[in-house]
């Protein structure tokens, strides 16, 4: 789908622009990039930090794969992550005495459930009322951040005697049975890493080896053709958004139960909790060609960029926000270069004659779903 041309060239150009930015800011780009790579991939501690950082990116990324394959845009990852984290934390605090083998799957499922609900709302709105999902997901992000701030400062706040009397918006310490166990001593590598990878593989199987996955991809390529073939288009769209939200919710739960602080904390913003994984997951999924298996590789890579960003900052004094700016450039370049590739391909087809098939676009634009009783369509 996305070519081997667009993705590596986007990365190359972005890194080049990053080097220029470092030069302009008076830093040595070679020192910077060496520090970045060493910080991200040099040694077992660095690798484990990168893997941990990759987990939310990967889960959001596969969620984005599902939604984008159905041609719905889920920009609500940030809010879905927060709702997943809240649902997981609330479950753990309500049932602190369950044994680990029961509690851990339960809290992760609760997280997925919280995210699924937050994804289902725009899904239903899109399928039933033709509400633009980009907008509804953005709005639900704004609702989610306030709900999170409210719950963590109010009903869920730490009121235990050794706390500062509920002044810090955070939950009390989560029950130890609910925390994701560390897999390798001396690192932070926790159970969330293999879980995320397994989930990604399952999503790959779902999308390419099941009839439901075929439905999702078919609806994504053409709603009208799928409807003509008798597929439940509206239900598929809702399901894709719900599943996409569930992946983000699971990411939120893993963020909570794999956290170093062992609680859910808010600094008042979504980014403070998610680390922008809801947006960066889009970058990761695009970079993985909207294929869950390649998304594993791409998440690990971008996790490395984020971890290495702080090493870059230490080595050169260039703030690690450079990494955010670069991933933005990568997104813009991937979707822009995609057109150039298509055009080059179309020209070669024109030269080669009608035998060569035209490549599919990233997304097709169908007429909007018809709205029952809607005026003016």
């Amino acid at each position: 789908m996305l070519s081997w041309f667009a993705v590596p060239s986007a990365l190359f150009i972005a890194l080049l622009l990053g080097a220029v930015m470092m030069l302009v800011l008076g830093a040595n780009p070679v020192t910077g990039y060496v520090a970045l790579v060493t910080g991200a991939f040099g040694g077992s501690y660095a690798l484990s930090s990168t893997a941990i950082q990759a987990v939310p990116l990967l889960l959001v990324g596969v969620g984005i794969c599902i939604a984008f394959r159905a041609n719905v845009f889920n920009i609500g990852g940030e809010g879905q992550i927060a709702m997943g984290g809240l649902a997981g934390a609330a479950t753990a605090l309500a049932l602190p005495d369950l044994p680990s083998p029961v509690l851990i799957p339960l809290v992760l499922l609760a997280g997925a459930g919280g995210g699924a609900i937050w994804g289902a709302i725009p899904g239903v709105f899109k399928a039933k009322y033709n509400v633009n999902e980009i907008l509804s997901t953005i709005m639900l992000n704004l609702v989610a951040v306030q709900v999170m701030n409210y719950l963590l400062a109010g009903p869920m706040v730490d009121q235990s005697p050794d706390s500062v009397g509920g002044l810090i918006p955070e939950t009390k310490l989560l029950p130890p049975n609910s925390l994701l166990p560390i897999l390798v001593k001396g690192t932070q590598l926790h159970l969330g890493v293999p879980i995320a990878v397994i989930v990604a593989i399952c999503v790959y199987v779902l999308l390419w080896r099941t009839s439901f996955g075929f439905q999702i991809r078919s609806v994504g390529l053409s709603r009208s053709a799928s409807a003509y073939a008798g597929m439940p288009v509206k239900r598929t769209i809702t399901a894709a958004m719900t599943l996409s939200g569930a992946m983000c919710g699971l990411a939120g739960a893993i963020l909570v139960f794999g956290s170093i602080s062992h609680r859910m904390v808010t600094d008042g913003s979504l980014t403070g909790f998610t680390g922008s994984a809801g947006f960066n997951g889009i970058v990761v999924a695009l970079f993985g060609g909207l294929n869950p298996l390649w998304t594993i590789v791409s998440a690990f890579f971008f996790g490395g960029l984020i971890v290495g960003g702080s090493s870059l900052q230490v080595a050169t004094g260039v703030p690690s926000d450079l990494v955010t700016a670069l991933s933005g450039i990568v997104v813009v370049l991937v979707v822009s270069l995609e057109y150039l590739r298509r055009r080059a391909r179309a020209q070669s087809i024109a030269l080669a004659g009608p035998r060569a098939a035209s490549p599919p676009r990233l997304a097709h634009h169908d007429p909007p779903l018809t709205v029952k009783g809607g005026g003016g369509q």
Binding site: I75, V131, L140, V147, A325
Partner: protein
């Protein structure tokens, strides 16, 4: 509650609600122009951040607020050229490329701020300018006619944009390109040229929005906008692609925001509940989207790059 319903508090509340609505209004008006021509720009928030930083930096360096505002608007124009190149000429998927522009703006403005400024120093905010005679009307004068120049500009742009869209050839072309680019093209209207112009104009408005946000608070911080640019995009739908509707939505956001802040500081609602109350505009917007989607139709070619057939 009684302390709230005093004339002084109400006057200040409405006046600051209008000031707070201004960045929303400027950004959403710009987005309206672009969307009417068929282009969704999701990068508004990133552009506002970059423009706010440019405004801040120039104001810090020169102390000249007019120059600072021009720097903000100019930053918007430059980002508009990039956005137009990506969305119109390179026909990128607009839902995704906009997120890219946003991430770039978020990261790059934070990078520049930390590298070039470091410690945040406040700058002078834009002084309110009273409109002679009108500002002496009791209550109303204090509410509406003692605002900064950018506020007047934003609200003046509402009828201007409405006039351009509805009463000029240029506006007709914009709407034609947004509804049926193939038909417009066959009549000799350059789809690409119209869309380039609307995107650049819209992003310049976003730049002004960033400048007005910065000059309202007088200080820059990382992620200063807190998603205001995304809200502005939603307000275009909220206002059903009409400048007056967009203004209504912006005022709703500005006023609700100020009312909650005032209630919080007066202790009318507890601190934690104010977060819950702050969801009100977003919830209203989501519900309004339900209504708008049934009642109004978006520009038919919205979000679709135009490719000539054959």
């Amino acid at each position: 509650m009684n302390q709230f319903f005093t004339l002084d508090v109400l006057t200040v509340t409405v006046a600051s609600g209008i000031a707070l609505a201004t960045p929303f209004l400027l950004a959403a008006l710009g987005e309206t122009i672009g969307q009417r021509s068929g282009v969704i720009n999701l990068g508004v928030d990133g552009i506002m951040l970059l423009a706010a930083f440019a405004t801040y930096y120039i104001a810090l360096q020169t102390g000249n607020l007019l120059l600072a505002i021009l720097a903000g608007a100019g930053t918007g124009t430059i980002m508009g050229i990039i956005t137009a190149l990506v969305s119109v000429t390179l026909k990128a998927e607009q839902g995704i490329s906009g997120i890219g522009i946003y991430l770039f703006g978020l990261g790059f403005s934070a990078l520049l701020f930390q590298k070039l400024v470091g410690t945040p120093l406040p700058i002078a905010t834009l002084p309110p300018v009273g409109i002679p005679l009108l500002d002496e009307i009791p209550v109303v004068g204090g509410m509406f006619f003692k605002q900064s120049m950018l506020v007047y500009l934003a609200f003046l742009l509402v009828p201007v944009v409405a006039f351009v869209l509805n009463r000029t050839t240029y506006g007709l072309k914009i709407k034609a390109v947004g509804e049926n680019p193939a038909a417009a093209d066959s009549l000799g209207v350059s789809v690409a040229r119209i869309r380039w112009s609307t995107v650049i104009l819209g992003c310049t408005f976003a730049g002004l929005a960033g400048a007005s946000l910065l000059l309202y608070g007088g200080i820059f911080q990382v992620n200063l906008t807190q998603s205001e640019g995304f809200i502005a995009v939603a307000l275009v739908y909220f206002g059903a692609w009409r400048p007056v509707g967009v203004m209504g939505g912006s005022l709703l956001y500005g006023l609700v925001g100020v009312v909650i802040l005032t209630w919080k500081s007066l202790g009318i609602i507890p601190l934690s509940a104010s977060d819950l109350a702050a969801t009100a505009p977003a919830v209203i917007t989501v519900l309004a989207l339900l209504f708008i989607a049934r009642r109004f139709r978006q520009p038919a070619a919205l979000g679709r790059p135009y490719e000539r057939e054959g």
